[in-house]
Symmetry: C2
DNA sequence: GCAAATTTTAAATTGCCATTTAAACTAATC
DNA sequence: GATTAGTTTAAATGGCAATTTAAAATTTGC
């Protein structure tokens, strides 16, 4: 069996023996951890295979190359480890509380070392160091989350339509969260002069929600900076 | 002349012939551009030397290795290309306007392709992908800027002392700016549904200042999120 | 149980990049 | 203008990581 005849078997599906499926899955799990921890560039195939306890050649056997493994890992992490449930149920709450819950859900995986945090970490790693490899998937996965936040903002501003001010507010909010998640832990602790803890994360979420709420209401009212 | 006897000539100073000084400077300039554009990891010595028009061996000859070149590039960019003037003169303005000027100064190098932007870009590249190499320099260069912002916030909050709320606000502000500068241009244009322009950057600076001003005043007053 | 297909392995290959080497070259000094 | 110190060059070296190969091992279907 030449490699050529395998060429297009690298989808998720076919011709896999039961033991094959298992190794493939082990690789995906290991890839989740390593990619989430190191980012695409710094993650080595060797490290992934070591963590999975399999031979280095198997990445190419099952996925073709590192880039394709990365893409599959993304989808896998989304479907198996996150499954759209990254956002808590926020319907029915007043919009102020919705904003708080949204922010909190972005931050709360921060200290989470477990499976829940993998997708979030992959996401943030990609934000910090875009590989461009997941461009196609990105849209479908991120856009729904985006829409949720935008709706909350619109409601808080009393607007029916999305305009520049709404998008600016969206940026302000996600950027406050994003940077917190991408900054090195030690740097954040230096800036805040205290060690990270669950409580600190909660206070931060609280702060960002209040800070942003006031910001949203401010820019909803007037259109020029009072100097 | 063995390499050993050169060992500690890699400082900025000694024993350089006039033509040597010139090549050294050409390397530093090229390094500014390449490091600022690619970040430490993705910048190759070959690319830097090509841009400088010199032989690859000269990086090691003049600086020892890539890491030392990076550190010297940082200092060089700060002294020659930025020189502490990254911040505009803000004394004498009311604190609200000071905040606006501070934000604007962080954003305005964004579209700047010239020498002025190099240090800012190096700085942001380091934030996005910390090498840890400039840890020692960092403090001295960044801390003064930080202090400026913190003072503005304190004034706006009517506080004498720096507390957690002040630091949270500082984070909120610099994170809004940071992410804008580190996000890929195409991604930002996608999020805002319009091409980047000088005017857009100005409106963004305006937004961030107003948004943050309201946020600061909000958290200065109360200590709990009204849900 | 046998044959075919699939999986796994160890080792080789390839490519990229930092770093070194040693010889050729150039400027400065006397 | 010869000697010395400093500079530049092309080519070699060495390390790391992705990828390939071909043979060995295992499972599956009959």
């Amino acid at each position: 069996m030449t490699n050529l005849s395998r060429m297009n078997f690298h989808g998720a599906q076919m011709n896999l023996r039961y033991d094959g499926r298992e190794t493939r899955e082990r690789l995906l799990n290991a890839a989740c951890e390593v990619f989430a921890e190191k980012g695409y560039r710094d993650a080595t195939i060797a490290a992934i295979c070591k963590r999975a306890g399999v031979n280095v050649a198997l990445v190419n056997y099952y996925f073709g190359d590192k880039a394709k493994l990365y893409v599959e890992t993304w989808q896998y992490a989304f479907e198996k480890k996150c499954c759209g449930q990254n956002l808590p149920e926020i319907d029915g709450f007043p919009p102020k509380k919705q904003l708080y819950l949204y922010v909190l859900s972005m931050l709360e995986h921060f200290l989470d070392e477990g499976e829940q945090g993998w997708f979030t970490r992959l996401y943030l790693m990609e934000l910090a160091n875009p590989t461009g490899l997941i461009h196609d998937i990105w849209h479908g996965l991120i856009e729904p989350k985006r829409r949720t936040l935008i709706q909350i903002i619109c409601r808080l501003m009393g607007k029916e339509e999305v305009d520049e001010n709404v998008l600016f507010c969206e940026l302000s909010i996600i950027n406050q969260c994003r940077s917190l998640l991408t900054i090195r832990r030690q740097d954040l602790e230096y800036l805040l002069t205290q060690p990270l803890s669950k409580e600190l994360v909660n206070r931060l979420a609280d702060h960002i929600a209040r800070f942003s709420l006031a910001g949203i209401q401010e820019v909803a009212h007037t259109n020029h900076l009072p100097l």
